[in-house]
Symmetry: D2
Subunit: 310 residues, 4 copies
């Protein structure tokens, strides 16, 4: 399968590297508003440089991978739908839930495969928790607890266009909640503070947040986020079921432990999700089939709605 | 110091055993509406059986330990205040926040030492977390996460008079939140479900609950409770600070680990807070000094207010 | 049962405290060459001070607990046998294997219960490993690994009369090996070094040692000892079986873990075997029945023989 | 750098895959007595098929990678020395210590780089232990403990030509001992049993073994091996130093933990050293410089001498 990569920035390069490790997929074309960035990534991937419009139209391209700024996603998705290309689009799809729904209808009408960048579902630890829940190992889900902290906040420039902590960071945890609860949330409560860096608060965003979700049958999910953790990229999930409990700890940098008068010390958590020592498949992606009517019915309670009340 | 023990039921006996392990304190008198219970515990502790009124009035008694049903606490506290005795009273002090405030004013006016049964502050793991926070080891507190599950729900008879999950069980976690946040909560959000046993729901209570607290400076605390955990008495706390993070895990029944084709298996958590293998000092208590004016000012936001909105 | 305690030094006091926590046993009499030590412990235990001979002869004494210096054990055991008292004797029983066998024959002829101070068999973790082996959980035992380190070496005065590392310290590990192997060792290999403190080497002892035992059916046990560990009292055992593996880790001082840029740090191991937070029953003891003929046949390969070849 | 690969069997294919992940190295030619095996691997690596002699002589080949049966290593090493090629040779180099020394002198005389397959030095956990020892973090090394178990024994055919447990399996642990002790062993004690499979004993080999090494300054190393572990590929190392202690645990298959009435269960250890989820660099290799005179002087105590006395 031939991929057209839209956006050759940081995340575009991450995807290009992931694609490069798969046998059956290749980057055929790249596009970026910066000719230099496009040229550089084209050189590394043996791809052609094109304009976005030409790339989407090209018969050489089976699927588009959208890694451009969020405010361009809407138009690119619609264009790709018209060109009947399979679509992978980075998160968040858009800042507006209404516009996201528009994208969903466009995808449905076009009947093209569509997937967004909820890579954490492919994390080997989290996906194992989900499959063990599905196999009934812990009975029915009652409480989901998600602790998620980034090593350090992004730049203030990034913060300004990120859509805020809920859309940019907690979006992954909200997706995990949907992945693990097995039911759509029916109520959302959110609080947030600026504790890590007052400049983030001055920019109108928060850097520390907490959400509680409940479902129609009374399942509860608590999520907390911080933009800063001194000890690495901290991603932990715990699911309390009617029979037993499952939890996933962080992968540490190594398994060495030192014993001294101050106790037993292990390594910090691996530093970020594209750490070289994480298996590259953790960042992999696959083309999902056309969304079913059932999915369409669920969509008015979009992931994007969460966090708007804080 | 001579103790008068009011109430010779389950919790009264636990306290009698704790007192028996201290050198400088002894049970001088016991009282219970069941003469047989009073007689039995008197025999074990070499104490006299008295009526509650006589016990409170007795010059042989320096302090009263109130372990009677909740609806008797109010009158016993007021009587002990009049008799100028030091008071230890089980939690919850009363079902009504107003009546609890009355008790506080009575204690203040009498100028007697008063303490309630927040034993978890004396748990060696949790008290260490608090003292390390106080020493500044993790900077300022940002997020407190408390996961608390009982091994099994109490009887429906107990549920009926317990005051509900928030007053009976989460009260300890709310106290931990105050202990660790270093600031009074200014907002409380609570949700609850009956997932463990529908009979608990039918009785008007919940068995699964979650609370979010925030403080004036933006600190956040998330608590979740379940009345059932197959793997023991589960009490974990984690504090994310501006510099570092501290967490306390459960004490397991032993340190043995078995390795087999299904992986590495450790023992369950110790089963309950009066487990024989926990150091008895974890249940110890001490007489606190007269509450200061500052404490009095804080009291309108009583621990008892929490959870009333669920 | 009434106990006569011979020896009121450090270990005698440890035993007195353990006896004090048992309901059915009491110290009736104490003896020590230091009248002051005897008087002090007698005061604490409500016991009479006697001479050793009078204590052993006393009809008030059912059993003697020998906690005197090693070179007095032989005579006291023989005297107690003549007086038909049950005997508990501290380790090592004697410095000479021949004299230990003499003691065993005396005990056998007298038909009195006898027990020596291998307290580690009553450690809740190690005893659980042994009982799970006995229940067949890991199949047949193949490799036993014992890592044992003291926090710090004893004084040079103690070293001078201790009998050396193998008789004084590793004796417990050799007993654990017999406890867990389920077969008598048939070969012993030992090496030792003085690495911790050259003065220990100058005194003719070692402070670092390693032993390999094998049994008739080919089971293997490796033991290593050091007189120094910065991180607490370190006692770990691992048993590799034909089906699965069991291991016991140290009990740490608490369960608190700190996460920082240098990683995840837990507390040191509890500092010594009479740590206040260890359950006192771990130091408990019980009177064993008269040794059977089978035991007598095994005795020529006494625990005391080990380590003599280093 | 262009590699000539001698031997296209299991281990040859593992090396070909490792080379394929390095940017600066490529397989230029392959040789195998099985034309089909050579052809298949040549196809996958875009390499030429050659005879061993032609490959060694080819100007297209800078270095040879010897993955053929052990009894061919001697001649291939000598041929490569004559052709002045850099050499990587699988372990064991030969069954005879004398013949290994011959190889070493040939390498020295030719002045070519030479390396053997002690891949565990490149394991991220073990290499970190060694570098932290070198940095002085734990003071001087006193006791090294190595526990090493394979998931299951190899086939009896393999056993027959393997050279036995010490040369085939424990050779890696003996290398780790040299890597970590920082001194050459001066005494070796070994025991072995056939406990896993009596057929291994009938074939003249052992499947369970233990070794004790000591050095001139009194450092001690204990190693134990089993050919079977139900819980994965088990490789643990612990180094007790004069200041502190370092240990490396196994990498587990994932970080998920399940809590149930039977306790807390984690995943088994990763199953084998070429597991897909281990970072490929763990199997990487590099060309070492010509051995110095100091190394030459150490060589009479060859790794190959170990274990010959069992």
């Amino acid at each position: 399968m031939k991929i057209g990569l839209l956006g050759c920035g940081r995340i575009g390069r991450v995807h290009a590297r992931s694609v490069g490790q798969l046998d059956s997929v290749a980057i055929a074309a790249v596009a970026d508003t910066s000719a230099a960035s496009a040229q550089e990534l084209a050189g590394e991937t043996d791809a052609q440089v094109m304009s976005a419009a030409a790339l989407i139209a090209s018969p050489e391209v089976d699927a588009v991978l959208i890694g451009t700024p969020t405010n361009t996603h809407y138009d690119l998705i619609h264009a790709a739908c018209k060109a009947r290309k399979a679509i992978f689009c980075e998160k968040p799809i858009d800042m507006s839930a209404d516009r996201i729904r528009d994208c969903v209808w466009a995808v449905e009408d076009a009947g093209v495969p569509f997937m967004t960048a909820f890579n954490r579902r492919f994390d080997p630890n989290f996906s194992q928790i989900q499959s063990r829940i599905t196999r009934g190992e812990i009975g029915s889900v009652e409480i989901v607890t998600i602790l998620s902290r980034d090593p350090a906040p992004p730049s203030l420039e990034y913060i300004a266009t990120s859509g805020g902590l809920f859309r940019d960071m907690m979006i992954h945890d909200l997706d995990m909640a949907r992945f693990l609860l097995g039911e759509e949330p029916t109520s959302v409560f959110a609080v947030g503070s600026s504790l890590v860096d007052p400049e983030i608060g001055n920019a109108g965003d928060i850097d520390t947040g907490a959400v509680t979700l409940t479902t129609a049958t009374g399942k509860i999910c608590q999520i907390s986020n911080s933009r800063r953790a001194t000890y690495g990229y901290d991603q932990r999930i715990e699911v309390h079921g009617s029979k037993d409990m499952l939890r996933a700890e962080n992968v540490l940098e190594n398994t060495v432990e030192m014993a001294s008068a101050s106790g037993f010390r292990k390594a910090p958590a691996q530093h970020f999700f594209w750490s070289a020592t994480r298996p590259p498949t953790a960042l992999g992606w696959r083309i999902l089939p056309k969304p079913s009517q059932a999915v369409r019915n669920r969509l008015p309670i979009s992931t994007m709605d969460y966090g708007l009340k804080c």
